[in-house]
Assembly symmetry: C2
Amino acid sequence: ICGLGAPNTADKSSPNIVIMLMDDMGWGDLGSFGQPSKETPNLDSMAAQGMLFPNFYTANPLCSPSRASLLTGRLPVRNGFYTTNAHARNAYTPQEIVGGISKDEILLPQVLKKKGYVNKIIGKWHLGHRTHHLPLEHGFDEWLGAPNCHFGPYNNSDRPNIPVYNNSQMVGRYYEEFEIDKKTGESNLTQIYLKEGLDFIFHQAKARRPFFLYWAADATHAPVYASKRFLGKSQRGRYGDAVMELDDSVGQILNSLRDLGIDKDTFVFFTSDNGAALMSGPKQSGSNGPFLCGKETTFEGGMREPAIAWWPGHIPAGTVSQQLGSVMDLFSTSLSLAGLNVPEDRAIDGLDLSPVLLNNTHVNRPIFYYRGNEMMAVRLGPYKAHYWTWSNSWEEFNQGIDFCPGQEVAGVTTHTQQEHTMQPIIFHLGRDPGEKYPISVLTKEYQDALSRITPVVVKHKNGLVPGLPQLNMCDLAVMNWAPPGCEKLGKCLKAPKSQPWKCDWPH
Amino acid sequence: ICGLGAPNTADKSSPNIVIMLMDDMGWGDLGSFGQPSKETPNLDSMAAQGMLFPNFYTANPLCSPSRASLLTGRLPVRNGFYTTNAHARNAYTPQEIVGGISKDEILLPQVLKKKGYVNKIIGKWHLGHRTHHLPLEHGFDEWLGAPNCHFGPYNNSDRPNIPVYNNSQMVGRYYEEFEIDKKTGESNLTQIYLKEGLDFIFHQAKARRPFFLYWAADATHAPVYASKRFLGKSQRGRYGDAVMELDDSVGQILNSLRDLGIDKDTFVFFTSDNGAALMSGPKQSGSNGPFLCGKETTFEGGMREPAIAWWPGHIPAGTVSQQLGSVMDLFSTSLSLAGLNVPEDRAIDGLDLSPVLLNNTHVNRPIFYYRGNEMMAVRLGPYKAHYWTWSNSWEEFNQGIDFCPGQEVAGVTTHTQQEHTMQPIIFHLGRDPGEKYPISVLTKEYQDALSRITPVVVKHKNGLVPGLPQLNMCDLAVMNWAPPGCEKLGKCLKAPKSQPWKCDWPH
Ligand SMILES: [Ca+2]
Ligand SMILES: [Ca+2]
């Protein structure tokens, strides 16, 4: 890979990096972010000991592009995690997807290797499930987890169950060796991921090697699950049980860092990949707090994420940063903390937040909200301008799929794609976090805000070179029929003949 | 007043009591309750040093009845703060109201006098503005503030400006001696109320007398105001400026208790009288966090309040209580802490929360949601059953008055009064705090919840003796034309002839 040398020996000054990325957890799911049940004591302690970011964003309101952006520091429209099959559509990596993360992208663990980091991903990958897309082909040294969502169970004839990998070999499948009881919601997966994380941390600490742990548990993605000890424990039903188990896991991971004496050498960041999946209903989804709509949308509920940074002795305890942040910043920030430069041969959207983290400074920067390759909205300071709005199609909506249940803002949460490029809808997110009161175009406030936003948008669009879209083609033949390692387990399935088609992305 | 003896001498074991009651502040307006701007460091510290109640309720979604309930420990339907002019309507005390707090009601300061408490109200009274309704006639020893909302300015011929009282004499009027600049939002009222509070605390502490301070600032009620130092300081516009000033005042009051060495002898409770007034728009109202609708409604946004209890050395620091609480509990709890009994000759709806505060226990109890004399809904545990739903009339709604802007839950946020008494709409407020997903009547969960709620409702209704409604009659002659003290100031105005009418309560 261009620009990457051989791994150097360990640098003692490079902190360990732990990124805990939740799946479909909403901004409003943590006590410290206003969840009324306040059942996240460990995360709330983490915030009290670290820095809380109320204005932190994902790069896309959907799993795969969000995760691709975190690991590349680049918008999906640059790293290829989008579709051009239709206008302003969300796309991800179901198992019939042909594409995945491109070999041309440089991922965070690949750069960290230059400083001798040992890189592990635990949990959901979601950047493509075909062999050349898997984590160990893209800079990770170790992996325990699955390439796709834990949908299922499938019958293994029309559609195979999703494999779980240990490094580059499958070790079983969801609903088979790795059980999820959809009726009771019971699964030990979070405990498995916790134990794997604690073991990894323990061994790297003992070996005194800097490590990067990307802990991507998915218990809060439908079908939501928790282990027996947590089922029925929350006031919020099964979803809250999952949150409590994840909160407990976060507490155990932070405690292990303390117990091993490496808490002051380990930068930990907690966030989520997209907003709560409101369309799944209250038993299978979380809370976006006061924000509008949820997952799949470019409203705040789709893209504003809970976010906490923790690094005792380095990040001042109990601080709140109003910095606008992005999952893409985790790329640039992690590299900066490790003493590494970001790749210079490409556009990087991530910002180095280390001055913010270490000195509580503030940088003025925009946030771009995309669906497909369409820039739907942009935030600058407290103002957010929507150039395109919609939630989903009437056809879908009339089938009961609702991205904004109980919410309807006229001209905003529309079911046709509404163009506002000549006169964007502008909200003041400080006094109107719920995006309910468009600022009148006749006001000076509107004109002032627009005059500041317009040059930022022009500059962004002029500098944008879209990457090759990776999420256009589907093919049943590429599904997880026979992942590496299936022979040993006797779990290889027969793939159908290849018949690629342009994937249909309905929203 | 029946049952009340002469004031006793001071009892050293009786803590001072400070109730800080905000006006139209929403559950979601505090950082510790999830306001994204997190601009309430003093209240957040108060929560960290005390006990936070995420499930605390007002007794009515409107100022006057809520305040009457706080001071009497009784539901508005019992203490008379309601109307029977129409079904399920909100009523309050505008200055044309004839009624007010009845001489038959026993108010908290009246009982506290039995233990030698000095009682002061600072700010908004709102239990009637005619002479016999004023605070010094109902147990308070001192008052600085106004009997009504700070609406205006008026021309003093059709309608007088609202008087500000010092004890039993008016000392000026809003928009005259007590300026509120509606254009800039500037007013020094919060600073005046703060200084008055600090002075009162100082003098009682020096005199070693137990005191009750009812600090009822109203800067967050439209027209929202702040003093010059705070204007433009928040990320949330003028409303946020007002919140910041109130937060600063809370900090100063708590600091003064510490500085005077009486923090361990002073029970402080912070809450609000009703939910954020969403109908006033984002420049003049706050946030109800994830809850449905706002002020005037019996949805959670109308009646769930921010609430923090603080009493160093007695209330365990940094705790969250899931207890369902009510402003009416402040009556019973204050009396209990003072070593007094609640009146035994009448129904008291308030609960003594002292075991909750001191030992973090939990009591199962219902919350009743009223509009007028109609029980609209009841909460028991996590379940809330709506027997009647509506927001406001189509006629009002079509004029742009919206209690639920950007929100619409079918069959729930209706514009006609919907009766569900035979089959209430039930929500699980744990997993569905936003009241968006009615539980299907066909489920066991619905039947189980209803079977627990029904006997509670039957018992409540059977035991209910409504008080005489005080908010039925209006008369322009009773307005604040010539309050006591007006002669000295040369500010007496001529009242029109008495022409009483049945007040029209549109929602
Ligand atoms: Ca996701
Ligand atoms: Ca009020």
